[in-house]
Amino acid sequence: MSIVTVQLGQCGNQIGFEVFDALLSDSHSSQGLCSMRENEAYQASCKERFFSEEENGVPIARAVLVDMEPKVINQMLSKAAQSGQWKYGQHACFCQKQGSGNNWAYGYSVHGPRHEESIMNIIRKEVEKCDSFSGFFIIMSMAGGTGSGLGAFVTQNLEDQYSNSLKMNQIIWPYGTGEVIVQNYNSILTLSHLYRSSDALLLHENDAIHKICAKLMNIKQISFSDINQVLAHQLGSVFQPTYSAESSFHYRRNPLGDLMEHLVPHPEFKMLSVRNIPHMSENSLAYTTFTWAGLLKHLRQMLISNAKMEEEGFKDPALYTSWLKPVNAFNVWKTQRAFSKYEKSAVLVSNSQFLVKPLDMIVGKAWNMFASKAYIHQYTKFGIEEEDFLDSFTSLEQVVASYCNL
């Protein structure tokens, strides 16, 4: 089954490119370390999910690129074409001339309604190309104006028009020390809206990935390109074909659906995070709560000792909340084939209290700024009133409280 990716804003488009690039390079890599038949099945599955075929054999990414100014999209289109391995569809882009000015209200209330029809049309065309459609993967940042505001608007529309399909939003959490001054406002508005219309929020923090680049990968002068590539690697390892639960002979057909089913048991809890080995070390575990520390250490030990996957460690009921049985809460997806040059790798996608602290911090900072009414006039100018802010604050306090009560 196929997944349609929607890339929004500078961040969404820059990352989207890296993801498709990573998926295809891995799929074509000669270091699969498995049988040829295995390799072919893997490639076919990957292709079907993310690419459609063109006459001259160059795969076209199943993606829609949206941005309110043209520079980034143009760059990504040419980069893809230059690779010679794959490209974006010619008519899969929607572009305007002037950005959203880092203003969530502008992205949501002005660009959204203005361009609703055109954007939804392009998305529909892409969906129609799929033989069997599984759902949407929406990539956006929450700090800026287009990814965040227009992203929230588009997700809402997808909920209305494709209520039977699944939507997973990949959201980039900005650096704690500013990329954008009003990033906390934009973030809380985005998260509160998406919580209502999306099925799962896969969150990646720039700070965390920056640490991976610095400490584990030893990159000296870290660029956004480096960060995006690490991200793409993590996403790739989640989305590349794995065996289905029934047998080791068939690749899982509906990755999105299966992910949601296992990871989002309750609509109150939608925030997911990704941990990937090898990349992780115990340094980063400092942020986790006590119960996860043991878990991930275990994962790491398994890798080092080349042991078979020992799932027993994950079945400890103490790790999970009382209303979930471990057998329902924990799932293992396997594949023989190696991913992206790592002989053995493991990735953990979790729905946990891990993200509560960062969320709490963002809400706190946004609240402090809101109390002084700073920058509010920039939002009310485009129709987002103080009540809308208060609604967002309320929703997110609710989310924080729910997670804390687990």
Binding site: Q14, E69, K97, G99, I181, H210, Q221, F224, N405
Partner: protein
């Protein structure tokens, strides 16, 4: 891509504008839109006869012969009403040529008559006619030793208009520009740098440009301002990993509508020919941006309160360099309690001509207050004695109330800065949050 229209008003405005176009042409081949306005012919005529004559279309000019006599009232009221229709028409034509008009850049001085009076009259016109297009104003404030006696009057009257009708103002004073020139001259002539300064890299130079020599004393100073404008628009014109459009500047740096005055600083002022720049040199660039030597306004941001700060970097600089420097500089700067991490950043891959990288810092900081207070004092000294007032009052439409209103407007602005300053050394407290019933 978005376009801006540059509006150069008065002698000062036109001279700076000229330098700007010179530099802009070095970076691009494209011709942008400009409207040149002056109430006496000298400057604009020179431009039209000079090497830049092909850049400007005569249809974009508005000139008169008599000049405004350093009188804001003449510039604003007399020429304003006389030329309103013509001006509007020029603007409309310029806008039509633009694919997507994002911003008007107005360049003028505050102390004279045309730039100050007519320049600020334009703001209202633009606001009414093009409400969605941003109005960025680069204003040259008079120094203490200004030779125009009535400059305080002109400046205060202009300030009221800036308060009410500009989206963003970059105040600059001649003294700072002069200090920068002197410093550069000293460095270059003292032989400390020897022959190692890269040609074309002096921020004051016009080498490689169409104008070959520094014919006027202000040329070098004007070049600095021109560089500022060029760097401001770089991220909108060129690609980068973190773009910044002009509308983002307003969004991030203006927390309250009145407080839209931004102190700018530019580095480097020159580049050495050393090609391999170690990170230390890069870090020095960031330190320089926060030193008073590189500011275009006499002010002390480090000892005042930051409301917001933007760093626009050009060249081969990555996000980790940016973050490292912000972490390093943050402890020495004071940010307002509700915006402790108030940084807006952008990375543009294309450096300016002659440099490998550059940094433009824009700060919304209470340090502009002393400039305004000084201006107000100079105003009051004249006004109390009613000196030269009759020249203004005899202009139709001018009354004493214009003066008193202008002063109140300025006082209110100063008071807002005062209130913010009062919060300066208070500990940051977390306010109680909403509590949710579970």
């Amino acid at each position: 891509m978005t376009q801006s229209v540059v509006v150069q008003v008065g002698q000062c405005g036109n001279q700076i504008g000229c330098c700007f176009w010179d530099l802009a042409l070095r970076e691009h081949a494209a011709v942008n839109q400009a409207v040149l306005i002056d109430m006496e012919e000298g400057v604009v005529n020179e431009i039209l006869q000079g090497p830049l004559r092909d850049v400007f279309d005569t249809k974009q000019l508005i000139t008169d012969i008599s000049g405004s006599g350093n009188n804001w009232a003449v510039g604003h009221k007399v020429f304003g009403s006389l030329y309103q229709d013509q001006i509007l028409e020029k603007f409309r034509k310029s806008a039509e040529h633009c694919d997507c008009l994002q911003c008007f850049f107005i360049i003028h001085s505050m102390g004279g008559g045309t730039g100050s009076g007519l320049g600020t009259f334009l703001l209202k016109v633009l606001e009414d006619e093009f409400p969605e297009v941003y109005r960025f104003v680069t204003s040259i404030y008079p120094s203490g030793e200004d030779d125009v006696i009535t400059s305080p009057y002109n400046s205060i009257l202009a300030m009221k208009e800036l308060n009410e009708h500009a989206d963003c103002v970059l105040p600059i004073d001649n003294q700072s520009l002069f200090d920068i020139i002197s410093k550069i001259d000293l460095m270059v002539n003292s032989g400390k740098l020897g022959t190692t300064v890269k040609p074309k890299s002096l921020v004051t130079s016009s080498s490689g440009a169409l104008k070959k020599q520094h014919k006027k004393p202000f040329d070098a100073m004007n070049n600095i301002v021109a560089n500022l404008l060029l760097n401001l628009t770089s991220s909108a014109r060129f690609e980068g990993s973190l773009n910044m459009d002009l509308n983002e500047i307003s969004m991030n740096l203006v927390p309250f509508p009145q407080l839209h005055y931004l102190v700018s600083s530019l580095t480097p002022l020159y580049t050495l020919t050393d090609v391999n720049i170690p990170p230390r040199r890069l870090d020095q660039m960031f330190s320089d941006a926060f030193s008073k030597d590189h500011q275009l306004l006499r002010a002390d941001p480090k000892h005042s309160l930051y409301l917001a700060c933007a760093l626009m970097v050009r060249g081969n600089v990555q996000i980790s360099d940016l973050r490292r420097n912000i972490e390093r500089l943050k402890p020495s700067l004071q940010f307002v309690s509700w915006n402790q991490e108030g940084w807006k950043t952008s990375l543009c891959s294309v450096p300016p001509v002659g440099h490998s990288h550059s940094l433009l810092a824009l700060a919304n900081n209470t340090c502009v207050k002393p400039t305004f207070m000084e201006l107000k004092e100079r105003f009051m000294r004249l006004y109390k004695k009613k000196a030269h007032l009759h020249h203004y009052l005899q202009v139709e439409g001018m009354e004493e109330s214009c003066f008193t209103e202008a002063v109140s407007s300025l006082s209110a602005l100063i008071q807002e800065y005062d209130q913010l300053d009062a919060t300066k050394n208070m500990p940051v407290q977390d306010l109680p949050r909403l509590s949710i019933a579970m």
